[in-house]
Structures are given as structure tokens and as C-alpha cells.
Symmetry: C2
Subunit: 334 residues, 2 copies
DNA sequence: TTTTTTCTTGAAACCGATTTCGAAAACTGA
DNA sequence: TCAGTTTTCGAAATCGGTTTCAAGAAAAAA
């Protein structure tokens, strides 16, 4: 059933039907009601493709994330943000569509894909600063919002990582710790990882504490396994830390495991603090003290900013979402 | 840049350009190469909407899941399946598009939405058997695959829940347990919950063990909180179980917590076994023995079946994916 | 009542592809 | 060389909407 069929049935023109659907003012009340009733009756929904073709608006938001870094759909941090993002854009009339490198299209980058689909905007997740594809998208004419990374010239949303680091270190210092080590997310271009490492260093400096040699160890893409290795290195260090600040909860979990495996206990021997507050955190033994990223707000604001960007109301903002300190049981007074 | 522009540039007709793009045979080698080279040069991608409009094929797969039951995007079981599903359909040329009840469209059901978008197929997740919307979709002309539930007249994919239950109970029985209780997913129409409860009962019967009064307790949508309450009830029972088979890992985690809070220990006092093998399972103390659902296979086969369905190669299958027994440390010989 | 203004309406062009079908061009073979 | 085939090509219709604009109808002003 098309607007042509409807037009014929009602003895009006397709143009009129279209106008009713789109709430144009130049339709008389009588005609409008006649058409509206009929539309309701047959539960008419226009064809999205035809609509997009002529309006050049698809009401789709493209979503990309980078599987390579292991931060895929199944990472709880990511999926929580997407969940919230989805709800918010839907409230604005958009739907989300996942980017793909498609065998059929033989496209080797996401921008081409999104161009092909004519998405109205793109949200990019968790990537490194040198990623070519991310830059391609940012520099394109399609509105883009980047989550979890600041980039000049792009609209970005991030958690207040500096604050989070300060909270963590101040807390540990408050408990009397002075020998505090850091497990960084990775060595390389991951933005969050770099920022948290810098945040750690700054917070230590502000507390006039030295960072002992070997007290920063690097994970690999925030994974459990790499966190475990990093913690082992910290334990093998000549000086042993009394507290460890991990750049992610997953690595914190790994650290706890490594500490236990070394015959030591958390928090009695070593305090551990994480970052993220994924669901896992409260199931660890001991329950993990951590810095919570507000995934709901991140997703919601990403959506808001993107929609504004699409509507040309504003461009290029760095939006920072507050973090929250979550005290549980993995840290102890020294 | 459209095929018309290209046609003009190359002094051919739009029809010819289209034919080259779609590998029609009736184009001479010379012309074909001329066009192909140019397409490459300008990195041309046709307009998806225009294509869909004329071919009536959108190369999009609709995905629905039910937030109400808490089995949203952020549930690790769900997102792992989607992840695998996504990869498989992309290999076949499709992309995934999330269903939405959209403020703009004012649609109050997913079928209308998917009709509007002209998706080529739909995958439905985790619902109860009486869900009207699921039925609407199944009975529609759009190919549908349902994950995690069997329904007559629909193509479905499920884990081998019966086998999983048998494995769990046989294992516990092998360890000498006779007083085994079950925490069910929920009281109501959830398919997985019902099947596992039945599976529990059958496995107990096969082992000629009685199910003591009050030894089946119900959670609410598999949540932690409800699992905790259920376990508390089991502990308050006049006879105390020596082992608990939980219908999900999350509820098993809750059970462990409840047992500990009651001053008892797992597995020394009570053995606990879960279902799913989500990431969490290996982080619990003790590490959770559980039945692993093969999310990768579930997603992959859902994709395969759906594509076959779309291509009209086959319809209506109940595909069952094997489960795997994962022994960790939450169960002990009695 | 006539003129002017404001409301309604629909014909037609357009969005960017696909596909049919007839005709022209290029080959056959005699 | 010419009739008969086979290739190659493109005009035009189609998919299902939107939007402009001219014109007719109705209402308001004179």
C-alpha cells in the first residue's frame, strides 16, 4: 500500500496524502481528517527508503566500535553506553545502525559504508588517536561524536579521567599509602590509557609522592591476562607497592588474582583500586573499590550532542562527564 | 555523484553504469573496463536507499530484544551472541539494524518498524512465549529467527538446555549430593526458565532422587537480587540442600553471596552450579562451575539460518546448540 | 456585486538507483 | 554481399515518496 493507492481510494492526490503525513499546513481540516482516519485505519507507514531518497535524511545513526582493541559489543562498559545512547536517540526519532565492512560492498572503511547508507550522524567508540578511519569520519561532512577520546576539531565525550585519578590517589594517600603503583591500560595510542597514566602521575606529584622505579606497568588493551602479567612484574619489583591503581576494573581483577596467587592478600597486604565500575566489580572478593564512569550519562549526552550537531545547532564541543568514587572493600588503611 | 553523472562523464547511459555495477553480462569488455576504472577512481558507492527502493532488498537485518526482562544489550550473554551474529551476517553482505519504538514514527510495535525499514529478516531475542509482538513478527511475511526459545511454526535456535541440566545434576550426583535444590529463572512465561526447571526435575527423576518440598525457588528475570532472595528461602527451608543448581550464573553469584551472608561456605557447606558461563563466572570466589552456552555458535547459526530463510532455501527449523560443562571450584564431594 | 486576498489542491519534477525491451552494431556463414 | 545471429547499448518505466508552483475555490474586503 502506497500513498498512490491511498490517494486513489480517497479521491485526492498523492501530494495531499504526503502533506497530511508530514503535517503541512495547507490542507483543509476536512481533507486532513479524511486522510488521517484512513491512514490510521490501514495502519499505514511510509516507505523509509523512498522517504530518505527524496528528503536526504535517513533517520539512522551509524555506530562504530573497534573490535581490534577487544572493546567490542560484549564489553560491559561499551554496551552500557550504547544502551543509553540508543534510548536517547530513539527519543529524538533516530534508530541505530551498526557500521560494517561488508563483503558485498567490499568497502574497506566505515566512512564509505556510512556514506552508502546515508546515515545522519556517526558515533565512534573507543579508538586510538592515530586511527585513520576515525579521522576520515571526523573530517567528512557527516556529523560525528567520539566517545572516550578527545580529539581537536571533533565533538567528543569523555569521563573526567583526571578527577577520577585524583580521587583514587587522594583516597589511597588518605589511607596512609605512599608506595602506590599504577597498571596502565596499554603502551601506545589509547587515549584513556594515556590520560589515566598522566592523571596518576599528576595526582602523585600533587601529593608530593615519588613514583618509584618500575611502579608503572603496562597492560595490553586493558585485558585480564595483560593485567595479570603487569601485576606480576610489580610484585617482582625490588620495592613492593602497598597500593595499586589500575586503569580498568578488569585489570584490577587480574591484579587481585595475581596478588593472591603470590600468597598475598587484598587489601591486607596490598590495596587495589580500579576504574570503570563494571558489574564485575561488586562480585570480586574483596569487592572492588573503584571509580565509576557514568555510562548512562555518557550515552545520553553523546546522543544529545550528536543530534544538535545534526541539526546544526552546535559543533565541536568537548563534553566531560563526572565520575564517582565507589568505596568497597579492596583498600585498607596502612 | 550518481550513476547519471558518471554516465555523462563517460558517454554511456546510466543503464550501462548500473549494469557494470551489478555484473550484468551484456556489457562489452571495453565499456565494462572503462566504467569499472572510473568507479574505482572516484571510489563510487551507490545510494543504498535508491537501490533498496527499486530492488526491494535492503540488506539490513532487524534485531530486537526485550529490555523489560532485563536482558538488554548490556547482558553479556546477549551481547556475545549479537557480536557473533553480526560478524556472520556481515560475511553474507547484511548489516544489522536495531528495532525501535520510535517517537517520530509513533509505532507501538516492532513489526511496523521493520516493515517501514524494509528489513530483509529479523532476529528476536529472549522473549516469553506469549509475547504478542514476537508472534506478530513470526506470522508476518518477513523471515524471522528466534533465539533462546522454541515456538511452533518458527525457526528457532536454542542451547541444549536439557543436556545442560542433566550434566549439572549428574555431576552433583556423582559428587554424592542427594539433596539438590533449584533456583529457577522466574515464575512465568520465560521459556529458558521453564525448560531448565523441567530439565532439573527430569534429571532428578532419572537419578531417582526426590525433589524435597520447597526445593525449587523462583527468581525474577534471572536477576541478582531475586536470586539472593531465592537462596535465602532455600536456606530458611526446614531441610537444607547440599547443592544448588541455579538457572543462571548471575543468580548463582547471588546464591553464593547469600550463603556466605548466612555464615556458610561454598563449596564446603553447599555446592553451587550455574548456567551460562558469563565472564563473571571465573571471577567469583570460588570460581563458578557452570554450564557454558556457546554464544559464538548460537549467533553464527542464527545468522546462517536467517540468511537461508531469506533466500528461501529453508524454513522452520529448530536448531539446538550443544552446551559444555565447565568445572571450576564451586562444587565439592559431599 | 466585484475585486482582492487567502486557502486548497494536484500536476509534475525530482531523489538515485534497476530492469525491460527494442534497436543498432557487430559478428556469422553462405 | 547479404540475410541471420548474437552482442551491446540505452530510452523509458518503475520503485514510493517529497516539494514546488500554478491555478481554482473560497473567503474577505471594497
Amino acid at each position: 500500500m502506497t500513498i498512490y493507492d491511498i490517494a486513489k481510494q480517497l479521491n485526492v492526490s498523492p501530494a495531499t496524502v504526503s502533506k497530511v503525513i508530514n503535517n503541512y499546513p495547507d490542507v483543509s481540516v476536512k481533507t486532513r481528517e479524511k486522510v488521517q482516519n484512513f491512514l490510521k485505519e490501514i495502519n499505514f507507514h511510509p516507505n523509509a527508503q523512498a522517504q530518505s531518497l527524496s528528503t536526504k535524511k535517513s533517520w539512522m545513526i551509524g555506530v562504530v566500535y573497534y573490535e581490534e582493541t577487544g572493546v567490542g559489543l560484549s564489553h560491559p562498559y561499551f554496551s552500557a553506553i550504547i544502551d543509553s545512547f540508543k534510548k536517547s536517540v530513539e527519543a529524538e526519532g533516530y534508530s541505530i545502525h551498526f557500521g560494517s565492512k561488508n563483503s558485498r560492498l567490499m568497502n574497506d572503511n566505515y566512512l564509505d559504508y556510512f556514506r552508502y547508507r546515508n546515515v545522519d550522524g556517526i558515533v565512534v567508540f573507543c579508538t586510538d588517536q592515530n586511527d585513520k578511519q576515525t579521522w576520515q569520519m571526523i573530517e567528512s561532512d557527516i556529523p560525528v561524536v567520539v566517545i572516550d577520546m578527545k580529539i581537536d576539531g571533533a565533538t567528543t565525550i569523555t569521563s573526567d579521567n583526571e578527577l577520577g585519578c585524583r580521587m583514587a590517589i587522594d583516597y589511597l594517600v588518605g589511607l596512609g599509602h605512599r608506595k602506590i603503583a599504577h597498571i596502565a591500560g596499554c603502551r601506545g595510542n589509547n587515549w584513556a590509557s594515556q590520560v589515566r597514566e598522566r592523571g596518576f602521575i599528576e595526582a602523585m606529584t600533587q601529593n608530593q609522592l615519588p613514583i618509584l622505579p618500575g611502579f608503572i606497568q603496562y597492560g595490553q588493551d586493558f585485558t585480564f591476562e595483560s593485567g595479570y602479567q603487569a601485576m606480576k612484574l610489580l610484585l617482582a619489583n625490588s620495592e613492593r607497592p602497598t597500593a595499586v591503581f589500575s586503569a580498568s576494573d578488569l585489570m584490577a581483577a587480574a591484579a587481585i588474582e595475581a596478588i593472591n596467587d603470590a600468597g598475598l592478600r587484598v587489601p591486607e597486604d596490598i590495596s587495589v583500586i580500579g576504574f570503570d565500575d563494571i558489574e564485575l566489580a561488586k562480585f570480586l572478593k574483596p569487592k572492588l573499590t573503584t571509580i565509576r564512569q557514568n555510562t548512562a550519562e555518557l550515552g545520553k549526552n553523546a546522543a544529545k550532542l550528536l543530534v544538535k550537531h545534526i541539526d546544526k545547532i552546535q559543533t565541536e564541543v568537548d563534553f566531560v562527564v563526572p565520575v564517582e568514587f565507589i568505596e568497597r572493600q579492596s583498600c585498607k588503611k596502612i
